[in-house]
Structure formats: C-alpha cells, structure tokens
Symmetry: D2
C-alpha cells in the first residue's frame, strides 16, 4: 500500500482525499495553510496534518495530489517532481501561458510522472463516446459541438481571480476538443458577451461565449459557454462524422418522470460538477493509482495543460481583437 | 366522382364529412334528425340536407357513412346494405351482442361492402408497429400491453347510455388486441373499479379497468383503461416478441421542450381522439374511397365488430362474476 | 373564390399547387417553359396551362405564386407587382445582393403585397418555440443554436448554380436567426470546409460550415451547416434564455421504437424538406390566402429576403477573407 | 467499528462482502461450505474463513449477512436471531409459505432486528418515485404497472430448484407492489405461459406471466414477468394517480446515442441485476449499518417476506386453477 499526500483541503481536495482509499492507496498527509480545513479533512480520512516540506521529504510518500489554489500549482508541481514524487495536479497548471511554457522542460519529460486532472476525460459517458468514435462507429469525425454551461455564476470575488471564463471554465472544453478532434486546432475565433450579470463585466470578464476552432485538415469545433444555464450543469457533446452523429447527453438525477396536464417532466438535471463528475473523479484516482504502480503512463500530462491554456489565451485574445488567432 | 351520403352530423360525422373531398368523393347528402346540425354541416361542405329514404333511394349514391347514434347503427347498416350501398359504419355496431350476431348473416357476406371504422388500425404509428411486427423485426409476438386512458371522463348522461366502459371505450382496445395478436383470445379476465368519480359508479359503470386476454397458443395481452389520465390521451402499445420489444408511444403537440430549474419539460400530450387520430380518420376515408372504387375489400368488417363486442361483453361479465370467461 | 396562377411546375411548385385548393383558392394557370411539366401539373389540379402574359394580364387573377428557377424570381416579382397581383415568392429572391437591393423600393412598399416563402417560419414546431420564447417562458433570449444539416449533398450540377452553401442552404438559417433573435446581426464570422465530397470543393463551394452571428446587444447565434448528415434532415433549434433553454427537436417518421440487444432504436428521422415541412407549406398557403383576402399583411416580406441574403453574402466573405464582416 | 459475518460466498454474497467496508463495518468471517469460495472471498476482503458456530458464537459479531442458498435462509435466520445477532437476510426467506409462517413469531418480533434484502426498495430511481408518490405529486395512487423481465432465462438446473417464476422472480415485484400500493392486495389473478423455452415447461415452470392484484379499496396492479426480454434487464414502474402518471424507466449504460440512417440508437440497457442494482446493494448495506448502530429499525422485515411469499403462492395457485385467489 503506497502512501500519498494531498496539498489542498478545499472542495476539490476533499473529493480526491475521499477517493484515495478505494484505490488501495493510503493518504498519509493533508497539507493546507488553513489549519482547520487540514485538520478536519485529516480526521475524516484517517490521515495526519503535515507541512509541505515534511510531505515532500518523507521517502515513504510515492505521490502527491495538488489540489491547492491555482497560483501554487506550478511551484508545487516543480517541487514535487524534484522530490521524485508522482504528481496528480488539478487543472489549470497556471494562468500564465509564458510561465507554464517555461516549466515545460522540467515537467513534460518522461520521468516526470505528472498526471493533469482533466476530469472530463474520465467521465464514463464521454469515454463511451470517445471509444465509439475511435472505433469508427460514425466514420471519420468532421465537426464537434461542445456545450458547457454552468448552472449559475461563481461569486464576483472568484471571477476576479479566476483568470477569466476561457482559462477558468472553457479550459476543460479546449481539452475535450483536443482529445476528441485528435488533431491540434490551428485557428481560434471567439465572440463573447456579458449577458448574465453586469458585475461580471465590471470585473473585466465575460459570462457568455461561443468559440470556433479549426484544425489544419479543416475539422471544425464549436464550444458554447455560459456561466448560467438556469437548469443545472449542461455538459453535452455532439460529434458529427462521415457516417452520422454520436452524442453524449446530460445526466439526470433519476429516470423518474411525470406526465401531467402540462406534459411530461423529467427529474432534475444533475446540478454541478461534484455530482456530474463523481465517477470521473473516482476514475482519475484509479488512473493515478495505476501510475503509482507503474502500470501506465499518465494519459493526460503537462503538455496537454499547456496546449489547453494556449487555446484559452487565444480565445481571449480573439474576443479582445475581434480577429482570428492562429496557433 | 362518386357520390356519398352521411348519416349523422355530430362530432364524428363532421370529421368524416370534412375528409370526404380530399379523397375525390362528393358528399351529396347530410342526414340528421337535428335539422340545424344537418343544415350547418351541409353548408360547410357544399352538400344538401336530405332524408334517409332520399339518400338510400338515390341511385347516384355509391356509399353511406353511418356516424349517427349507436342505437341506429345496426338498422342503418341493414338498410344501406339492402339498398346496395357500400357502408362505412362507426364503431360499435351495436351494444347488444345477440342482436349484432343476429345480423351477421346479412352484413358479413362478401357482397356487403361494410367497412367498420376502427380508426386506430389506420393510425400511422400503430400501422408502423403492425408492419414491423409482421415483418418479424422482434421475432414472434408473445405478449402485448395496450394502454388506453382518456384525458377525462365523459358527462354522466353519456356514461348512462354508453354501454359501459368495456363496450364504449375498451372496444377499440379489444379490436387492437385481435389485430395485433393475430389470434383470437379464448379467455378473458378483467378487474375494474370506480376510482375516478363515484357518480360513474352510481350510474352503474366502472372508470378504471385492467383486462387480461389469453389466446389458445398462450399469448397474453393486458389492456389498461381509465376514464381519466390527467395528462391527455394516453394511447400506447408494447409488443413483446422473441427478439425484443416494439413500442408505439404517445404523440405530443410539438417537439418543443424546455429545460429549467425543475428539469426538462415536454410539450403537451395530444389531448383527445380528434387530434390524436386526425390522420387515422383521413386514412379511413381513403380506404373507403378505395372500397368504393372496388380496389380493395374492407380491411376491417362486420365480423370484427362482433368479435370486439363479444370480448367487451366477456370482460364485463368477468368483472360481474369475478371469474375468467371463456370464448 | 379567388383565382391564382403559379409560375413553375417543378418540385416546389407542385407542392404549392396541391395546397391551393384546401385554402379556398382556385388555381387557374400553371406557367412553365417546360410544356410537359406544366401540362401534367395542370391536369392534376384542374388548372389550365397558360403563358406568363396571359396570367398577369388576366384581371381575375388575384395572386401569383413564383416557384420558378431562382434567376427569374426578381423579374417575375417586379412584373407581378406591376400587374397589381399579390405575390407569394419562393426564397431566395435573388443570388445577387446588389441587384436585390436595387429592387427594394418597388418591392418593399406597403402596397406590394409580397410574401416571401421562408417556409420554416411556418413550421408548427418552430412556431411553438417562437411563441413560447415571445411569451417569456425562458426569460430573455441570450444565445441561439441552429442546426441545419441536409441528409445528402445535391448533384454537382446543382451545386455549381446554387450560389453556394450560404445563399442556397444557410439562407433559411439566417432568416431563422433574424426571426428568433428579434434583433439584426451586426457581425458575421464563418469558417467552412469541404469535408463531404471533394467535387463540391472543385465546384468552388464548401459543404460544411459553422457561422457565428452577433447582435448589437451582444446576443450570439451559432449556425451549423452540412450538406450531408448521414441520418436525414437535421433541423433543430436551441434558444438559451435568462430562464433556461427552449428547444425544438427533429421529427421522426413515427413514435415507434424497438428495444433489442443493441439498445433502443427509434424510427427514421424524416428524410428531407418535402416531408419535414409539409405542414409548413400548407400553412404558408393559408397565410397567402389570408393576404389575398386582405386579412393580414405578409408576415415575411421582401426586406427579409434582402436581409437574409446580406447575411449569406457576409458569411461567404468571412470564409474568403478569414475575417469578421460587419453589417 | 462493528464486526459482522457473512454466510454464503456466492455471487450475491460477494457483492455484499465488498460493500461492507464502505459502511464502516468490519467483515470478520466468511462462512461457506465451499471452502475455495470462502477462502477466495475472505482473502479479497481481508476477512477470515470461519464456521457457522464460530461466527455465531463470537460475541464480537454484531450482525450476520445471510446470502447462502435459499433452503438455509430460515434456519440461519432462526439461529442468528437466537444468538442475538442482527440479521440481513437475502430474499426469499423460504420457498414454503407454511414453514415461513411457522417462524413468524420468533422472527417478526421487535427485538429480532431482521432486515430482509428486498433490494429494489433501495434503488435510487424507485426511491425517487416512491417519495414523489408519497408527497402526492400525482395525487392519490389508483393503479400500478410493474414490468420485470430478465434478459435471458437461467439454466434449467436452476429453474428446477428455483421454486418457480412467481417465488423466484416475481417475488420482488410482489414486494414492490405492496410497498408502492401501500395497501395489501386481497385478490390475485395470474395467467402464465411457456413461450420462451419448452424446457422450462418440461421442468414444470412457466416463463411468461401477467398477474393482476386488487386491493380492498379497488386499487389495481398489473405485473408483467418474462424470463427473457431479449434486450437486457427491463425494470420499470408506472404509477397512475388522480393527478397523472409517475414513471421510472430503465437505466442505460451511458447517455451516448447515435443518429444514423436507421434512426437514433441508444446505448445498451443495463444487462442484469448486478449492474442495475449496484447502488441498491450499497444502500442496503448502509441501512444494515444503521440498524447495527441502532439508529433505525429495519425498513423491511420478516413479515414483508412472508407477505410477498403469500402473493407468489397465490399467483401460482391462480395459474393452476384458472381462478382468482383471495387473500
């Protein structure tokens, strides 16, 4: 049974910490500057509170989960890799593309067993779509539609430090696009508005965006983002191929529906990522466990994080300039 | 262009009268003891008001549509057939099985071109199911579920003269069962309650029933009836075969749906038979036009009406006695 | 009963000709340079074959349906309006924006009762969506997704004279966008590829396109076009509002589905516009009949045709230049 | 952390054994006459192999899971209860109603913390339906349809010792009926056939059945059973109330679907109970953990097992006699 440490005892850190045990791993340290959060999570999962140095200096620690605030990701990755630990780092790797590219040499080499947590690649529905696509069920992929709308906007305080809609939210969709298109986008055009809440605009961000990606071979991808759907977490894929369409639809709370005077009504849409991607988080941890056991290499790594960030930056630039951005 | 007469200018008579022209037929007479109804319908469709004798005595009249009150059906059928007219008679042929059987010799012979209007056999959805079933898409039929719930109960005055739920409402389902099972039911068991409105019980009828039919080869059919669905006209079929299930679902007002905080909501279910079976009524008329042109024989005739009535009577008897009724 | 003439006895002309009678109109003349086509259609609907001058010179003719080849639309509109006839003209009004704008003064005035046949505005599903949207069911509209994929590409000979994907096919979607956004797009960006058939590219056209429209208030609209879906006519709308999403989905041949080893399988998607928009064509004719009876003004007119053409031209220019086109 | 023992290391025993840890319980003994099965399961979950006496005699054992063969259930229940253990017993309690009733005094008393594993009551979809029903979302329940078809028949050797379709398979549906009707059925009528495999008939059983239950207040329930659906595990509920219908539909492998020339095709139906009810099994164990901590009483107990068995026996008798059986 291998030991691991987790950096960050916030919302996403707690998810990962609770998924560790089922994968035959032992969570030894919880590291968080917020002493209460660290202590409370450590107690829940039977770990001890530790400092970063202790955790990285403990030879029994095989891997580190980085679930701390975004501005620490890059630094912690570098330190954990330097200490010889396998790393499971939450997205995004950084909000600054130049800085992220600067660390690419250290973090992207084969020896750096750095697994970047783009959780949607581990969702069973999206994996089913991906594997059918790869099996040629709908022929050759031509175009892709990604719908990715949050149920409701985050607090304005969060918006201000989020890096903006493209780096904070659409970054997942850029990764999905790269994963499914199986070819790098070479041109990005985006148009965005502030329609949901003027305070988001005042904070310098947008809340609604449509982005168009194009690859060298002419494949096209449309990404739709909104900070507020009004009906839950809208996470859908449509992949149009030479032999038809393959889609992944939203997940509902249950299969229960009602038929009444107003028509047929389904159960609720799953509301947000903690529910919608609960399975994906478990599967991420299973993947990390396999990396720790040297059974597989990370299926998604540092270079993927840099590439998604580059697309996010290009989209933001396109909104700013009103022009297509070439990559 | 052949001339026809319609007997009955009520709700269903009006439907048929308006469908005549599109089939290349000319509606010459509207016959109804209610002078106003007859005159108004005649004006709408460019026909003249006439008496029964006039219509049946007019040699230019090739066919007669009988859409008058149920108690007149049998008499009018006999008179129209005696006058050498082709007949399109609304269901049921009569409420009395013995009387209906008594007329079988005259009305069921090859020369009597009597088409009985079991409209559901002409519904495009049910026809699609039937033809896929016949083509063996789900192998050999084993069991059948028929759901047939009205949106809301008729007036009590109607209930009193309706012949009861089985003869008035389930008669359609007995015909559907015979049509789809492609084998005569030999045993009937039904259980029924008065759950919707006690006034229906006081009128001597039931408003909720489940009927179980069995054929000689062991095929089973369940019919579910209710006088009140609460959500519109519920008309569904499930045919279970050796190679899977084939179903026909309800028809909605449109494909429009809404996704909101409470989940996904469809448009309304089509409310009742005038909407739900509008196509079926048109196709019935097309079939009658082909009978008049001697292109086809009636696909559903007097004997089918008698057989459905026998099942309805058996179901009512089963409810009365609490026993299986053999046929 | 008012008399009308139809110019054009091709596929769409035949549809309209057959819908005339049900609206209480009399089709007096069928006009087509192809004598056989004219004669055959005239015989079917009980009209006479006539020349253009005869039809326009006949004082008993109240309205003219223009369903001839696109290059004649503008000329025939002008002549019919000059002759004082109400006009029901098939889209597009012309393939040349400058020429179309040149005729705007004559054709867009109140006296010119010119109804432009953007059939999709008359589809019952899309009308249900539009009226719910107008009623505020999902709050204020923010963004719109239009999916419009043909089942399979037209012959290359047609592609060559079609005016290109944007003017020939997407023109409907530009009209839908204007109708539903209820605000003029002010910027257009499109990206297009030739992925379906290289022969389309050799003919100077594209077969796959994604177009992004933006209005002054920041509303965004994505249009997806493909000349080949591989599964039938894909005609869907998604309107995202401040209070949720309202959608119109595809129409299937029937409600019949099968459950088998491979999962659940629906019936076929309606294959192409003649089936999918049969109701819309009937409703267009009903609207034209009301225009002829001076009950309503055309709900969609010449200016709408010019505006949709301007968007089509802008999209084509955007593909050519790789830049946003402002309107 | 409380200790428990499991009796039975077969398919269902393995499921339960693997669910123990997540509920904060420690599985101490695995008991099974098949030494290999016991050893292998014990090794997997970190338990030890033990004999029945050892397990029941160990004062540290708080609860016993009975997942052994059906003929041992009653005896083991009695011994475990006598030893003062809480019991989680798989259904059915026995195949013999008289014998089951004979043990009712010992096993149904308040002190016998005996939880009977009717897993479907713990399915999240069915629980969602039940709680909406209880909340009056569709008014007062009137009738209920339960569809319960297995994907494919069990081996004939199993059929012979299964107790027959009603006690082996429909027993779950009788429990669901009692749970949802919230009123005891007082009359049972069933009709059954052997349509799937003649070998099942030769083994003295049926493979296809429709059962009709009636309660004192006139509520009606139809249960449809088949040993072979041909498309996976068909587990659906339809509850018709005074204010509409509430339904629970089947669960698919994923939300992925394909649109192709033949129409729209879903992913596979979940194939059988191990997948379909994986969540239910976890929730059963959570319930047992709460019973062990004295937080709740068993929500379903011995008397429920006897009542379901009585309905199963009545249905079998009805098939045998062709008569309604009163309870």
């Amino acid at each position: 049974m291998q030991n691991i440490a987790i950096l960050g005892a916030g919302r996403i850190g707690r998810i990962h910490a609770h998924n560790v045990a089922a994968q035959g791993l032992r969570l030894k340290y919880v590291v968080d500057p917020m002493a209460d959060a660290a202590a409370s999570l450590a107690a829940e999962v039977g770990a001890m509170v530790g400092g970063l140095e202790t955790a990285l200096g403990d030879a029994s620690i095989a891997g580190v989960i980085i679930a701390s605030s975004t501005d620490t990701h890059l630094d912690y990755c570098l330190r954990a890799v330097a200490a010889g630990k396998a790393v499971f780092c939450e997205k995004p790797i950084d909000l600054d593309l130049a800085r992220a590219r600067g660390a690419q040499k250290e973090l992207n080499c084969a020896k750096a067993r750095l697994f970047l947590g783009f959780n949607r690649r581990f969702d069973p529905h999206f994996q089913a779509l991906k594997s059918k696509l790869a099996a040629g069920v709908v022929g050759k992929l031509e175009t892709l539609h990604i719908t990715s709308h949050d149920p409701s906007p985050p607090p304005i305080a969060y918006v201000k430090v989020s890096g903006g809609l493209f780096k904070d939210m659409a970054i997942h969709d850029f990764d999905m696009a790269r994963w499914l298109l199986d070819e790098e986008p070479t041109a990005v055009f985006a148009s965005a508005s502030c329609l949901v809440d003027p305070a988001i605009g005042e904070a310098g961000d947008v809340d609604t965006a449509k982005t168009l990606l194009r690859t060298a071979s002419g494949k096209l991808c449309v990404i739709s983002n909104s900070r507020r759907s009004g009906y839950g977490y809208d996470q859908r894929l449509e992949a149009y191929g030479s032999g038809g369409l393959i889609r992944a639809d939203n997940v509902l709370e249950s299969t229960v529906s009602r038929w009444q005077e107003q028509g047929a009504a389904s159960d609720l849409f799953q509301n947000f990522f903690l529910d919608r991607y609960a399975d994906a988080y478990r599967r991420e941890m299973a993947h990390f466990a396999r990396i720790l056991r040297s059974e597989v290499e990370p299926s998604v790594g540092y270079a993927d994080g840099v590439a998604a960030l580059a697309l996010a930056e290009a989209a933001a630039e396109s909104v700013r300039t009103g022009k297509v951005v070439s990559l």
